[in-house]
Each structure stands twice: as C-alpha cells, then as structure tokens.
C-alpha cells in the first residue's frame, strides 16, 4: 500500500495531513475545529475535489472532542463530496464524538470505521 502525503492544511488551531492510499485520500485532522478552521478545511477540501479526488476518509484519531462547529464541518464535507459524485467516511471516531453524533442523529449519514484497511477497501470498491 502506497502512502503519499499530498498536502497539508495548517491553521493556528487545526492541521490536516492528506495522505493518498489506493485512490483514497485520508484526511488526518489534529487540533481544534472552530469556525475559522472549519472554513479553511472546507476550502482545502474543495481544492482536492477540483484536483479530481473523490474518495475520502476523515481520520479523527487526533481529535479528542468536537462541538457543533465540528459536526457542521463533517456534514459539510460529506455534502460537498457527494454533490461531486464522491464519498466520505469517518475513521477512528472516539466514544465521546460518537455519542455526540448519535445525539444529533448524524451517525445515520456516515459510514464510520475503526479499521483503516477495511475503510479503504470499502471506499475504493
């Protein structure tokens, strides 16, 4: 499996490494998602779509918690991906974030994985 770091988003509070693996872009977030960071992340994501990428795995392993801004970002990325014919799934969602997703019913919208290889296989299929 080839892992290629294709780009990096760096804001004052959120960073995102983008790693390509078998046609899927793994977006590894770390830091805190606030409004400014979410806007920057969304803009970077739209850039990836313009570059022809369409399969995304949002890796939240380094995100301890999110609030409504983070939830809005996740839904926004999913909508943007699907509107372009792509797909986005979540990886390494901790129990705190999963509980929040379930509270606001958004877990219904996402494919959520704890196993990266399985997620990559499903997204690449």
């Amino acid at each position: 499996m080839t892992l290629t770091n294709v780009s990096v988003l760096e804001t004052s509070r959120l960073s995102c490494d983008v790693i390509e693996s078998g046609g899927v872009d793994i977006l590894r977030l770390s830091g805190r998602i606030d409004f400014d960071a979410a806007q920057a992340m969304h803009a970077r994501f739209e850039g990836l779509l313009r570059d022809g990428r369409s399969r995304f795995l949002l890796d939240l392993a380094a995100i301890a918690r999110v609030d409504s801004t983070g939830l809005s970002l996740m839904v926004g990325l999913l909508k943007t991906a699907r509107a372009s014919g792509g797909e986005l799934a979540l990886l390494n969602v901790n129990p705190t974030i999963l509980e929040l997703l379930e509270l606001v019913k958004l877990h219904q919208l996402f494919d959520i994985y704890q196993d990266r290889d399985l997620a990559l296989r499903r997204l690449a299929a």
Partner: protein, 139 residues
Amino acid sequence: MRLDSRLEEVARMDRRLTSLFDGTPAMMPVFDAVRLSVAEAVNNCIEHAYSNEPGHPIEVSFEMATASVTVTIQDSGRAVPDGVFDCVQLPEFDPDDLSTFPEGGFGLFIIKTQMDDVSYQSCDGVNTLTLVKSLNTET
C-alpha cells in the same frame, strides 16, 4: 472570567473549565457535558450576538454547589429572539436526500439536551444565559 469575542478565547475558557473540574472519573461525563455546552454558548455569543466581531466582552461565571454546577454566560450583543430556547428542535433531515442534510442548528439542541436547566433573559442590553447541571451521576 472575562473573554473577548474571539474564537481562540473558547479554548482558553475550556482550559480554565478543565482545571476547575478536577473531579473523580465518575464525574467526568457530567463535566464533559458542561464543557461542551459552555463552549456552544460562548460560540453562539461570538458568532450570533457579536457577528464574529472581536473586541466585545463575554462574561462567564461558575458556581459549584454540592448538588449542581451553574454557569452564567453574559454578553451585550444581539439578543436571541424570544422563545427560541423554549422550542429548540433538532434539524430534520432525510438520510437519503443530500439536500436536507443539516449543516447547522445543533448548538442550542446540544445545550438543551446536555443541561438540566437552561434559562435566558435579556435586560438593559445584557443577555444572560444560565446553565445548570446536576452533579448526581445516577440520573
């Protein structure tokens, strides 16, 4: 604790809350709910009351009693319209219809569901949101 209406202040406030809530593991879900709700409330002040304009004050105060914690958040910006806190609902959506996926409207719902009591009043240009959370972990 006085905050400026900038998003980075939310993280500072959260660190302060974390230092105050140095409780037992059993209490952590309670404190996590308070931290999340206060962050949502301060975010609302910044984004809605002050329209993301820095330089305005937000006053956050905490009162820990035996049975509950009370957090008061005050701003002097645009007030929340009457009745909004009384009829908070989750945005409706159809998982099969992309156009209905909600990209907002979660904040007040989170506050209402995580806290045991939420009250809001606007008086003489000062808006006050009061959040109460029971410290009884058995409920």
